[in-house]
Symmetry: C2
């Protein structure tokens, strides 16, 4: 039986907690949060605390605080014997290096508390400071039911940067399209088939090979027309920079 | 029986041709292309020509050439009685105004010749210079099996601009993510669940309300880390501009 404590009841922490507490191979022993009010609702399921020294002896301590607090929390756990891991995509493993056994357990998904995730659909990236810790984390991911990827800290940072481009920035572009549609009384749903088609295509191809649109065609007339049409200065700038990028990319 | 000719055997033209020729309500009477070689393979299915004067008398002439040629082709059709339409997202209807009956039939999808599309999944935007032409185009779209939207030229341009943001630019961002992954030996498929989740969310929400990532959190540490990590000057610039946009947008 693997004993686990969760430190930080944010979106990742709560999703991990709810997934792990249902597994027979796992015993959840503590849930820590700085503000106790936020975790009161869980007190019947698990020992809760806002005092880090009260966290029970565990095989794995999962630090799922925000990135800026990881090192501080880690320091407060000094002297603990178990495996200390954080769940951050953009934080190096070595911030935990005051411990003997440490690592990373990073779920590649936007998690929210309101809607618990299905970890079967979520890749988890692991990194351990020793092979034995890699093995432990691999085993834990298997119990969770996620697909496991073994990445070092540089790869994880690359992954996190890529995720910003592939998800955060694309969502932002959708929001620009949404606003233009709203201003012109166009139902945004008209795009759903086109967006789905775009996604299906990138699942089968290198995206740069299937680029379409006025940029890749160097259709300067259309580009000019579009730029004249766009009112927002910000969106105009984004249109120009991305179009330039597509044109330059094509020349490679 | 509606007689139709298609002028321009590009991706849109061939997809329309193949869809329409199977409909019992339609009789395809000519397929025109400047270069006859490109349409020789269709000669058993339909009368083909590269001489615009040989195009047979039709109820609807569909001009599916590239945008720059629409007006020229339209002028060459001067004096024809039927309804003359083009299929371009970013061209105003009025370029066809030398005719009595004219309009637009714009399928909102990236079409390719290699893989014929299923028009049931593709919205088509129509515009006619008279109500009766709107009715005719609406009927044609119904026969094709597509969802029909009645938009004026300004709305169609807005739609086209939005499509560039929602599809062309997002594809380009995927290509940047793909390249970063490739450089760091990360299989791009790791993103498919996250991308699918992003799409499912925007189908239910205003995208600006569900923005995530370091920009919206104003997580300057992570943003700095990411910018240091990105090697390509171009991608660095795009990262900065989009992050600034997200931060500014959040302040609204």
């Amino acid at each position: 039986m693997m004993k686990i404590s969760i430190i930080g009841a944010g979106n990742v922490g709560i999703n991990m907690f709810e997934a792990l507490r249902k597994k027979k191979e796992i015993k959840m022993v503590s849930l820590f949060n700085r503000s106790i009010e936020k975790i009161l609702s869980h007190r019947k399921k698990i020992f809760i605390t806002n005092n880090i020294n009260e966290i029970k002896k565990s095989d794995i301590y999962i630090i799922s605080t925000n990135d800026d607090s990881i090192e501080k929390v880690s320091n407060e756990l000094k002297g603990r014997d178990g495996l200390i891991v954080h769940t951050s995509g953009s934080t190096e493993m070595k911030v935990l290096s005051i411990h003997k056994n440490f690592g990373v357990l990073y779920p590649l998904q936007t998690l929210t508390k309101d809607k618990l995730c299905d970890f079967k659909k979520i890749p988890i990236c692991i990194e351990g400071n020793k092979n034995i810790n890699n093995q432990k984390l691999k085993k834990l991911v298997k119990i969770i039911g996620s697909k496991c990827y073994n990445f070092d800290s540089k790869q994880r940072l690359a992954l996190h940067v890529s995720a910003v481009f592939a998800c955060n920035f694309t969502n932002y572009l959708f929001s620009i399209a949404y606003d233009i549609c709203a201003e012109n009384k166009i139902p945004f749903e008209i795009f759903f088939p086109l967006i789905r088609e775009t996604i299906e295509k990138i699942e089968k191809n290198n995206p740069s090979k299937i680029q379409t649109g006025p940029g890749i065609r160097k259709d300067l007339n259309t580009i000019k027309k579009h730029l004249n049409f766009i009112k927002s200065k910000n969106s105009k700038k984004i249109y120009s920079i991305l179009t330039e990028g597509i044109i330059a990319n094509n020349g490679k």
